[in-house]
């Protein structure tokens, strides 16, 4: 085996990776940044400037939508964690063998189904002529059709539904590796259920919690379908605004600035999340 041949092999393996990362990830993002700092001064004439970012900060609609998207995403992440943790714990610790596999698979099935179908399901349930509305009228709790779609609660339900599996799956994996005897020891030493949860279970599950939260937050922040379809015209979701600038208004400069701001927000929050929990990106995502 000559060294030259192995060197050649190495470069042949390196080439696709570099092509992919440079052409599809790095250069496009640099391009996005360049467009975001250029201002249109005439037909096909551009100047470098921060006007697009200034427009974002001076127009309340823009930054309010941005803040709203961030806050709703954080809320959705918290809700997903609170709702998903007991389920993950149940699957990991209170079931065994067949039941465990079945429950775990049942959690996975909605994940395999297109987000569009999931959201469509919620539309059928929640809208004015929907199943819940008909049910309430049938039971006699409502006298006329009830519109449950097109509000923030509907968006929240959809966001949690879409992303809960990404919380449950990593949590089950980490909780599975927690030895039951540690929990028993906690009880033997006189701990209450709550203190054991706080001192033993949650610290052990931290990697799972962090990776789950990051994925859920990312999915919520970058979500377009759920807020638009369940929130309707007033959903005011930042991705919707990016879409409007790019496709409807054809203002790519402002749209790029929006895109960059969204990217910055998600990167900062992911970074802070990793730092706070002393995890690394490769450690949490690369599994």
């Amino acid at each position: 085996m000559s060294r030259d041949a192995s060197k050649l092999g190495f470069y042949l393996l390196l080439a696709p990776l570099l092509l992919w990362l440079v052409l599809l990830i790095i250069l496009p993002h640099i391009g996005l940044f360049v467009v975001s700092v250029s201002e249109k001064v005439g037909v096909r004439e551009y100047e470098i400037g921060l006007g697009n970012y200034a427009a974002f900060f001076t127009e309340p609609l823009y930054w309010r939508t941005f803040a709203r998207t961030a806050i709703m995403s954080i809320l959705a992440t918290g809700l997903t964690l609170i709702l998903g943790f007991p389920i993950a714990y149940y699957i990991a610790k209170l079931t065994k063998g067949r039941t465990k596999t079945t429950l775990f698979l049942m959690c996975m099935i909605p994940f395999w189904v297109s987000e569009l179908v999931r959201t469509y399901g919620w539309m059928i349930l929640l809208r004015e002529s929907g199943v819940f509305s008909s049910f309430l009228q049938y039971v006699g709790l409502a006298s006329g059709p009830v519109e449950m779609l097109y509000n923030d609660a509907a968006i929240m339900v959809g966001l949690v539904y879409t992303s809960i599996l990404f919380m449950v799956v990593p949590l089950v994996t980490t909780l599975d590796s927690l030895d039951d005897s540690l929990i028993e020891a906690g009880y033997d030493l006189g701990g209450s259920s709550f203190s054991i949860l706080r001192e033993i279970v949650i610290p052990h599950a931290m990697p799972g919690i962090v990776s789950g939260c990051i994925v859920v937050f990312m999915l919520s922040l970058g979500n377009y379908l759920t807020p638009i379809l369940l929130g309707g015209k007033d959903s005011l979701w930042f991705t919707g605004m990016i879409y409007t600038q790019f496709i409807t208004r054809f203002n790519w400069e402002l749209g790029s600035a929006f895109g960059f701001l969204l990217l910055a927000l998600s990167s900062v929050l992911v970074f802070v999340g990793l730092k706070l929990s002393r995890q690394s990106l490769s450690g949490t995502m690369g599994r």
Binding site: L17, K93, S114, L116, Y120, M218, G222, Y224
Partner: protein, 284 residues
């Protein structure tokens, strides 16, 4: 709270009730989508008008079933075309990356590995617009320089394929690397001792060992490509894949045809998903 430590019965029952409620919550939207595919009414809503298969096989307006609805059939074809390309590219690049990251030590490896993971934390919409902006800039430059048209760099299927590939490749790399790490290099050395060429050993020993991971990542890639919406939305041209077509129809007002398509999607993706899980488990 573990089985060996007794808890008050009320607590246990509350917990169980919550778990049951949770699974109802998971199942409810998908069940209604499936159920209303068989409702004999032009709206996917109550009241129940009786069972029908018209939304699958019907050919008289307004009951035009999935299998007679041209636009949906064409969209399924487009999606399949895109998915095959994305899966093929992702598997090839993923396998190369796996060999690179598992077998080679080089300067900047940690940095490249982190860059490789980046698509996981970039929102799909941003991936879409960044590729759109970049490819348009390249197309403009080339067109100005040469005077020719470069339609492949304008929104359309080639860009959709590249956009989806840009993040699906990360998943393929992770799945295939995980399998390659479990490989015992002495098997390959044995093949070399027996006179195999380096390439022959990889092809006859290592690649068959990787096959389960390769198949699994191809299946996941196809599913991800079929279901992707965010990135596709920004890059789509005149020919739209299934999710985009369904989204457009949904905005105009839904008919049970969408339920029928959804039901088919659910069946196919659940079957494929379960198959890939079983395949991985049986080969482990």
């Amino acid at each position: 709270m573990i089985p060996t430590v007794p808890q008050p019965a009320v607590m246990t029952w509350c917990y169980r009730a919550y778990v049951i409620l949770f699974f109802v919550y998971l199942a409810l939207p998908l069940s209604v989508v499936c159920l209303f595919a068989f409702n004999n009414s032009v709206f996917p809503s109550l009241p129940w008008e009786g069972f029908t298969l018209a939304w699958f096989f019907g050919s008289d307006a307004p009951y035009i079933g999935v299998f007679n609805e041209r636009s949906i059939l064409r969209a399924i074809g487009t999606s399949a075309f895109v998915a095959v390309w994305v899966a093929g590219l992702a598997v090839v690049v993923g396998t190369c990356n796996a060999f690179l990251f598992v077998r080679h030590e080089f300067r900047g490896k940690a940095l490249l590995y982190m860059l490789m993971l980046l698509p996981l934390i970039i929102p799909g919409v941003i991936l879409g617009i960044s590729i759109l902006v970049f490819s348009s800039a390249v197309a403009n430059t080339l067109e100005d320089a040469t005077g020719m048209w470069f339609d492949g760099l304008r929104p359309g299927l080639p860009l959709v394929i590249l956009g989806q590939f840009s993040f699906v490749a990360t998943f393929a790399t992770l799945v295939i690397s995980a399998r390659l790490q479990k490989f015992d290099p002495s098997l390959e050395e044995a093949a070399l001792n027996l006179g195999a060429s380096k390439f022959g050993a990889v092809r006859q020993i290592t690649l068959p060992f990787l096959l389960p991971a390769i198949v699994a990542s191809a299946i996941v890639s196809v599913l991800m490509s079929f279901e992707n919406f965010n990135t596709t939305l920004m890059l789509v041209g005149s020919e739209s894949p299934l999710t985009i077509t369904m989204f457009d129809k949904l905005k105009q007002g839904s008919t049970p045809v969408l339920n029928a398509v959804s039901l088919l999607l659910i069946i196919v993706s659940a079957a494929i998903g379960l198959m890939s899980l079983l395949f991985q488990n049986s080969k482990r």
